[in-house]
Subunit: 227 residues, 2 copies
């Protein structure tokens, strides 16, 4: 039996909505390989550390937040030989959906960090195979919005129906009818619950405030327009 000796990293697809755009956190690599190239934040898994713990540690380093602050899940694992010039490196990617955050502080090996609109990232721009990982993360997020209440993870603790609709429109890159959306989300059991408060957002009628409800799945789902 021959063991394959591998290094294992975690990489994070951290998504938030800022300035009406779906944004991903990128770091500017300060050291080789891929010096001065943008990449997803991440790092090596420590010897006594579970994968999720490693990812959570990196999330804390990059954003100051704990995973409970938004939604956090394992995305997929990538292990094509040669994906990392340093040697045999397998990465376990995690996806986080986060409410709007302040400007990030770069981790120790990074020359910079930045929230970038996902739509602005050109093919081949990212280091390693991070283009692929990012694409997978974006599609996962889009699919999750159909079947789960996880769009709320992009919102602050209290939000209006219009806030939530803006999340859907931004992530799905489409327009949704406010009347239909209102009926759907207020009618879907366990999706959102009224807080009792109201808020005036721009001009117009005051809107009710809601918080995330207890449901883990949407039944029936809120399906994307057919493609």
């Amino acid at each position: 039996m021959t063991l394959s000796v591998v290094s294992v990293t975690v990489d994070l697809v951290l998504l938030t909505i800022r300035q009406a755009a779906l944004q991903v956190l990128l770091i500017r690599r300060g050291i080789p390989p891929y010096p001065d190239r943008w990449a997803l934040p991440g790092g090596f898994v420590l010897p006594d550390e579970d994968l999720g713990e490693a990812a959570a540690r990196e999330l804390r380093e990059e954003t100051g937040l704990d995973p409970q602050h938004g939604h956090f899940e394992q995305l997929a694992t990538y292990g094509t030989p040669g994906r990392d010039p340093r040697g045999r490196v397998v990465t376990v990617a995690y996806l986080a959906l986060l409410p709007d955050l302040p400007a990030p502080v770069p981790g120790s090996d990074a020359a910079g960090a930045q929230w970038r609109p996902a739509a602005d990232i050109t093919p081949g721009e990212l280091a390693f195979d991070h283009d692929r990982i990012l694409a997978d993360g974006l599609e996962r997020a889009r699919a999750k919005l159909e079947y789960t209440p996880l769009a709320t993870a992009f919102c602050p603790p209290e939000f209006t129906v219009a806030d939530l609709r803006a999340v859907y429109e931004t992530v799905w890159r489409t327009r949704l009818d406010p009347r239909n959306f209102h009926r759907k989300v207020t009618g879907a059991e366990g999706f959102i619950e009224p807080t009792g408060g109201t808020v005036i957002r721009d001009r117009g009628r005051p809107a009710q405030l809601f918080r995330r409800g207890p449901a883990t799945l949407l039944h029936p789902p809120l399906l994307r327009q057919r493609v």
Copy 2:
């Protein structure tokens, strides 16, 4: 920078339907750790091998089949420290949905191999953390049947609507109305296509034969009964 040196394995949740039961392929471990314990088939990833390739190689060794013969996808990665007494081992689990197969041939390190009804496996029975991996695989398969045409992966190349319904009933452990099911699957664009042939299965009217259609998603989905 400290690298964490890890061994990476793949583990396979191979599911098929035999004798009206959802069955999983298990191997009897012939060597430590966990000697004489049942486990999911798998093995170490070779140095120049992608993860999916490693999993496909193992699938070939265990079943003689290529992944295209059924459905095959990455399930999740498990890396809790101590999950393997041999040291730091991270496993990338893959899920395969396969049509009924002959009895398996054990791989080189196994003392036996067997298709076991998933429902017969008692908690804690499997080696490593394979109970957890199996449970995740089963749930993944159940969810996939709602949103995709992948139930057809359990069927031979040509099948009747009743064959397909039996797949759903077996995987979901429920009964489905044949009239409603027929209407749904024949009406869902790209799910199944008639071959033009018919077959007499038991007694009763001859049934039309179908093959898998080109769709990758079911729209609208065929949702499980609400839990």
